[in-house]
């Protein structure tokens, strides 16, 4: 089995490799496995689903630059269904992808990305009227290794023309500063009469979203 796989890989690598397209649009989805125990407040498992959409520009034969918008979210009920909490993270990501051509249809890829992230945390008592909200910003870094299968859109078409690509990638997501939710408060109607009392902030704590990640994706290169 192992020998056959090596021979097949060598045969594929010997094939001519297509040139990178000028541009691409992609949609990726997957999960991040968050190891910080604080994540248990907002999720019943360690996995947080993630979606990434964006576009890429081929800067050279082996390098693509990407811009992407990502979303990651989780919610859970805790303490005998008394408390409901949710987390939603917006990611604005820039990435560099190095392609390692393996064959006409396969390419390996090494991707490094940095993201500006905005996270919102909600905590409320189930059936209560007060929603405790906070917002935090952070920096996300990630590195992944992936494998891409490229197929021409038209059967028998030019390998350099418009292609559909399928991707699987895995790696590690690192959030060096975490998210500090130390200013949570309930948003009250400022037009009420009399105006609401000054709100004291609640420090719910900090959350680190670092951990392994796995993504699948599809892209259209042209």
């Amino acid at each position: 089995m192992t020998v056959r796989a090596i021979i097949a890989a060598a045969a594929l690598a010997a094939l001519p490799t297509p040139a990178l397209a000028d541009g691409s649009l992609f949609l990726r989805f997957g999960a991040a496995w968050i190891t910080d125990r604080a994540f248990d407040l907002v999720a019943e498992t360690d996995a947080a689903p993630q979606v990434l959409v964006g576009g890429g520009w081929g800067a050279s034969d082996v390098l693509t630059l990407e811009l992407a918008y990502g979303m990651l979210g989780a919610s859970a009920r805790s303490f005998g269904d008394a408390v409901e909490s949710s987390l939603f993270v917006h990611q604005f990501q820039g990435a560099a992808v190095f392609h390692l051509p393996m064959s006409e249809h396969f390419a390996g890829r090494l991707r490094g990305a940095a993201a500006f992230e905005m996270a919102s945390l909600d905590v409320e008592a189930v059936g209560g009227s007060a929603l405790l909200e906070d917002f935090a910003t952070g920096l996300g870094l990630e590195g992944t290794l992936g494998l891409e299968l490229r197929l021409p859109v038209a059967p028998g078409g030019d390998p350099g023309s418009t292609r559909l690509a399928f991707l699987v990638e895995a790696g590690w997501s690192w959030h060096p500063f975490g998210f500090d939710f130390d200013g949570a408060s309930v948003d009250r109607d400022g037009d009420a009469d009399p105006p609401p009392l000054a709100a004291g902030a609640i420090d719910v704590g900090s959350l680190d979203l670092s951990g392994p990640l796995l993504r699948f994706g599809v892209s259209l290169a042209f």
């Binding site: 496995w33 604080a38 409320e124 009250r188 709100a199 609640i202 420090d203």
Partner: protein, 502 residues
């Protein structure tokens, strides 16, 4: 098997891995907020997170981890006490505030109740009547086993009394003495908290086997006697406690007032010395602790009274029970033999509070509130009882007195007058009213929710509102303005992300 066939199941399994611990599924249990060492402290018991607000500093509540198996929580002089830990490794955590430093004292049993002396320097750990054994604890527990705690020294000494009771009922601390009394169903236990080896159990069994159930007890102002009111007798039981010595020697006296019956309440007052005031259905008496009947003073009362308030300077006030239709009120100065009897306009709806030399008696209906301020004035020829009525903007739901300033504070519910159609978000639906004893100068501040309870922490007043995640308003006592008030909603969410491992 081809690895491709394994890939999808592996991915699906990986997505669900890493489930969270059982603590997240346990019921949401909280304690407090309470005033502790000038802070407002609260405990999220299930998560094991202690939070506190420093009123002078402001800002978000601070928090720290405590045991995730907390069973009891109480303030002491320098912070809070948390009893918890697994049943096979029970601990008492002594937390100093506002620093948040924690000291852990191993315990001999998984007690689930903490009673702290009024000065906060000593505590007693005991079993509650309805508690269940925690995980890992012995399946049998002895209700006679208690711990005497000196939080500052970090010691907890286990002592065992000899009673036939199922559970302790109340704990009474002596003022200015380390003596502690624990009331059981049919016995009184005494222990010297400074030397816990000095202890004594006094069974309250009659010769025919019937038991007297202690209902109320007070140490005499000098600490030499414990006065006990017990169901089943009209006598006041006086336990005379011998000073010093290795053992705790106790002599028992039964005090009574000839011609008076149906004992309702007892009280002590420092100006009256080593004596007890007993309130009966048809009168009241001052009984000498040593049983000297020549020192007995008594007065006949036509109306039924419920409790005794000490207005200071040797004057006592008898008032009716909240929620009953009785209206009689009387003030008595036993040493001078003077009494004044009057009637209230309306029944009282909650236990009164005393500030300065006045008693504040909450009154009202389901939708409106009032106060009667009772002040006793000594005149050359008589005692005069001034009953002054004050209207409140809402229904009184909480009260607290500040003995230092002589101001009584009342929490009000302003929402009850609204109809169900008023469904928009409302502010200003609660209030804190302040009334000064003597001058009856009044003030207050509207807060954004009805007040459930009031507390005093340092120079600030805090009002607790009804909310599952905790909701309180903090306002300086000397500056009752909305602009000076801060509302903390969701305090029990403090530190939930920072809680430690189970």
């Amino acid at each position: 098997m081809d690895i491709r066939h394994l890939l999808l199941p592996l991915l699906l399994a990986a997505a669900g891995c890493g489930t969270r611990g059982d603590a997240w599924d346990r019921p949401f249990e909280t304690d407090g907020p309470v005033a502790a060492a000038g802070q407002v402290a609260f405990l999220q018991r299930t998560a094991g997170v202690l939070g506190w607000i420093d009123p002078t500093r402001g800002g978000p509540p601070s928090h720290r981890d405590v045991t995730a198996h907390a069973r009891a929580f109480a303030p002491w002089a320098e912070g809070v006490l948390v009893a918890g830990g697994r049943g096979d490794a029970p601990v008492l955590e002594v937390v100093r505030l506002p620093a948040g430093t924690l000291r852990r004292i191993p315990l001999d049993a998984a007690w689930d109740r903490i009673e702290v002396a009024p000065d906060g320097t000593r505590a007693i750990l005991l079993f509650g009547a309805a508690g269940t054994a925690p995980v890992g604890a012995a399946p049998v527990r002895n209700p006679n086993e208690v711990a005497v705690v000196d939080p500052a020294a970090g010691t907890a000494t286990t002592v065992i009394f000899q009673t036939e009771a199922l559970a302790p009922r109340e704990v009474v601390f002596a003022d200015g003495s380390p003596l502690v009394a624990i009331l059981f169903d049919n016995a009184i236990a005494l222990v010297d908290a400074a030397r816990p080896e000095r202890l004594r159990t006094i069974p309250l069994k009659l010769r025919d086997g019937a038991a007297l159930r202690p209902a109320q007890a007070f140490f005499s102002p000098g600490g030499g006697f414990l006065f006990v009111q017990a169901a089943g007798t009209d006598d006041v039981i006086a336990l005379e406690i011998a000073a010093g010595g290795e053992a705790l020697d106790v002599a028992i006296n039964f005090l009574f007032a000839a011609g008076l019956s149906d004992l309702q309440a007892i009280a002590v007052a420092p100006p009256l010395g080593e004596a007890v005031v007993a309130l009966y259905r048809d009168g009241a008496a001052l009984l000498d602790a040593a049983g000297d009947t020549s020192a007995t003073r008594s007065v006949a009362l036509a109306s039924f009274h419920h409790r005794i308030l000490d207005l200071g300077d040797g004057i006592l006030l008898f008032h009716p029970a909240p929620g009953r239709s009785d209206l009689g009120i009387a003030a008595w100065e036993p040493r001078a033999g003077r009494v004044v009897i009057d009637r209230l306009e309306k029944p009282i709806v909650a236990e009164p509070v005393v500030a300065g030399t006045s008693a504040f008696l909450p009154q009202g209906t389901a939708e409106s509130g009032a106060l009667t301020v009772a002040t006793v004035v000594r005149e050359p020829a008589r005692l005069r009882l001034s009953l002054q009525a004050l209207q409140l903007a809402g229904v009184p739901t909480a009260a607290i007195a500040d003995p230092a300033s002589g101001v009584a504070f009342f929490g009000l519910d302003l929402l009850r007058g609204f109809t169900a159609a008023d469904d928009e978000e409302r502010t200003g639906t609660g209030a804190i009213a302040a009334v000064a004893a003597g001058s009856l100068g009044s003030g207050g501040v509207r807060v954004d929710a009805p007040v459930l309870r009031l507390g005093i922490a340092g120079g600030h007043l805090f009002a607790i509102h009804d909310a599952p995640l905790g909701d309180l308003t903090l306002v300086p006592r000397g500056d009752l303005r909305r602009e000076a008030a801060v509302r903390y909603e969701g305090i029990f969410a403090s530190g939930l992300l920072d809680r430690g491992e189970e």
